[in-house]
């Protein structure tokens, strides 16, 4: 392989069809992977490509997208020696919110995965302590999903027809 091979090419060579797309969003390279490959991708990036730092991870919910792309999980990795930052994404449907944990690869992921569970209901197999973290444990819904309104829907004293979202 030549010196100029991009990270996208290298990942495509290793993971083949599991790499669904490569895009650039502002100053970030974004790779979309199939959910099942994600853990191996993270291990590969850490061990072979030097992405030694997990900057952040978070979920998001797109209720208007097609069924298979309703929930998104995002990971941001940082390579300290080459100062390269990338974003990994994977999409999934509401029925299948199970991912593999990466908290044995990066210890930082432990609480961040719990946060993703707390707010969106993602579950991470292999996580040592898959419990809610910021909200109380008795809570029976996942508040950052779009179907949960911020305000009490029974109120009729606030009309948001023109300026509400």
């Amino acid at each position: 392989m030549s010196e100029n091979t991009t990270l996208g090419d290298k990942l495509a060579a290793v993971f083949g069809d599991a790499l669904l797309s490569t895009t650039t969003d502002y100053d970030f390279q974004v790779f979309e992977f199939h959910k099942s490959a994600l853990r191996n991708v993270v291990i590969h990036l850490k061990e072979q490509e030097g992405f030694n730092y997990l900057t952040t991870l978070c979920g998001s919910h797109f209720p208007d997208a097609e069924k298979e792309r309703e929930f998104c999980m995002m990971y941001q990795l940082h390579n300290f020696s080459s100062n390269e930052r990338i974003r990994l994404k994977t999409f999934m449907s509401r029925e299948d919110l199970m991912l593999e944990t990466i908290c044995d690869i990066y210890d930082a992921a432990n609480w961040m995965e719990r946060e993703a569970y707390d707010f969106f209901g993602f579950t991470f197999s292999g996580h040592p302590n898959m419990k809610r973290i910021l909200n109380m444990e008795e809570m029976n819904y996942f508040p950052l999903r779009k179907e949960y309104p911020l305000e009490d829907m029974s109120r009729d004293d606030k009309d948001d027809t023109f300026f509400g979202r």
Binding site: V30, D107, W111, M112, L150, R165
Partner: protein, 397 residues
């Protein structure tokens, strides 16, 4: 556990609730400690006591109304959070900010970094029993707050700056206050250093207390002074410069052992570096406008609003939050008082963010607390917590 094991160990552990409102923890932190006498065997932290659902709130607020939310993350250095948020939106909009505005922002950010480090370092000293230094140095934090008050009218939760620049230029009296501060603060800081830095009691208490290796720190996602104390020279201001930090000449102080003493010393040296940056920004301060030409986000002056149709329309649109933004996904991070503060923003083109995630440094590195205090004394745990600069507001968001 079977009975023989207990008999064999012949030990009984004590469970101790440290917090949620313990005066020594400087915030709402609960740790359920398993103690063997004075030694900590295990700790289970519980967080979320002041969770205010910022990420959900942000989904209902127009972009300019999110700035006050960011104030309440790390409230010891609100201006850095504000600027980070403004820069995130500016990155999304793809707008260029005039050099003067960037330099003004650098001055404000470095002043608030000093204020943040003053709080952290003096509190470490208080936890080792040195109240005097705390009282001495807090006068200087007061001076910084007076400067903020002069610029934006408020002190702690500043809501300083606007999307597109600053809300107003610095007044002559602000410049005078900053100049006086630059002239007089080094002596005050050195006096504090003379009291504490090589103090036998302080060194005995802090050296080797709450140490963590560089590898573990990187794995735990440490950033800011805590990571630099382990010897890793990661600083967002240098790695991914924003707001013209590349124009300034400054050093990144690093430690070696990653213990409480190194974290203290890194912060102490960083304050001198911040002064150096402020001095350079003042010397090189470019002329020009203090805000970008961004009528859809930057409020027009009041006299324009009353006399000019266009300004009136923009005023209305900004106040009612009716400005559309491009679709996109953007991450921007700044070097906050205690680490890399990042905003991950998904916009669907509407008046509010579709999703806003805040990378809060405290939330990420507080995970390591259990590992750092295991096998240490209870009093070391208090010291480790204050030296990590964990701010409850940022931890719980």
């Amino acid at each position: 556990m079977t009975d023989d094991i207990i008999l064999e160990e012949k030990k009984e552990y004590t469970t101790l609730n440290l917090g949620p409102t313990h005066p020594a923890t400087h915030g709402i932190f609960q740790n359920v400690l398993t103690m063997d006498g004075e030694i900590i065997i295990d700790a289970v932290p519980t967080i979320g006591y002041i969770h205010r659902a910022f990420e959900k709130l942000a989904e209902r607020r127009p972009y300019n109304q999110i700035t006050p939310i960011t104030d309440r993350l790390n409230y010891c250095s609100s201006p850095i959070n504000n600027m980070g948020w403004h820069m995130t939106v500016e990155k999304l909009l793809g707008c260029e900010i005039p050099k003067r505005a960037q330099y003004l922002r650098v001055i404000i950010m470095e002043l608030s970094r000093i204020a943040d480090h003053i709080v952290c370092n003096t509190v470490i000293a208080v936890d080792t029993g040195a109240m005097t230094g705390f009282l001495y140095l807090f006068q200087w934090r007061e001076r910084i707050y007076e400067i903020f008050e002069e610029i934006c009218g408020s002190r702690l939760t500043t809501n300083i700056g606007r999307i597109g620049g600053m809300e107003r230029d610095f007044s002559p009296s602000t410049w005078l206050k900053i100049e006086t501060f630059l002239k007089e603060f080094p002596a005050g800081l050195k006096e504090f250093g003379a009291l504490v830095n090589r103090n036998r009691i302080f060194m005995d208490r802090t050296i080797n207390c709450g140490a963590i290796s560089a590898d573990r720190a990187i794995s735990y996602g440490f950033s800011g002074p805590n990571l630099r104390a382990c010897g890793v020279d990661y600083d967002v201001r240098v790695m991914n410069p924003y707001s013209s930090y590349q124009d300034f000449d400054f050093n990144i102080p690093i430690g070696k052992a990653g213990d409480t003493y190194d974290r203290y010393m890194v912060r102490n040296d960083e304050m001198f570096q911040s002064l150096k940056i402020i001095q350079q920004a003042m010397d090189k301060m470019p002329a020009g406008n203090f805000h970008a030409d961004l009528p859809e986000f930057f409020l027009p002056p009041k006299e324009e609003v009353y006399n000019n149709m266009e300004a009136l329309i923009y005023h209305f649109k900004i106040v009612m939050g009716e400005t559309d933004v491009p679709k996109g996904e953007v991450y921007h991070s700044v070097e906050g008082g205690n680490g890399e503060l990042g905003y991950y923003l998904i916009s669907d083109g509407g008046r509010t963010p579709f999703r806003l995630h805040m990378r809060r440094p405290c939330f990420i590195f507080y995970q390591a607390f259990t590992e750092m205090i295991k096998g240490r004394m209870l009093s070391d745990a208090i010291l480790t917590l204050s030296s990590m600069n964990v701010i409850a507001g940022e931890l719980d968001a």
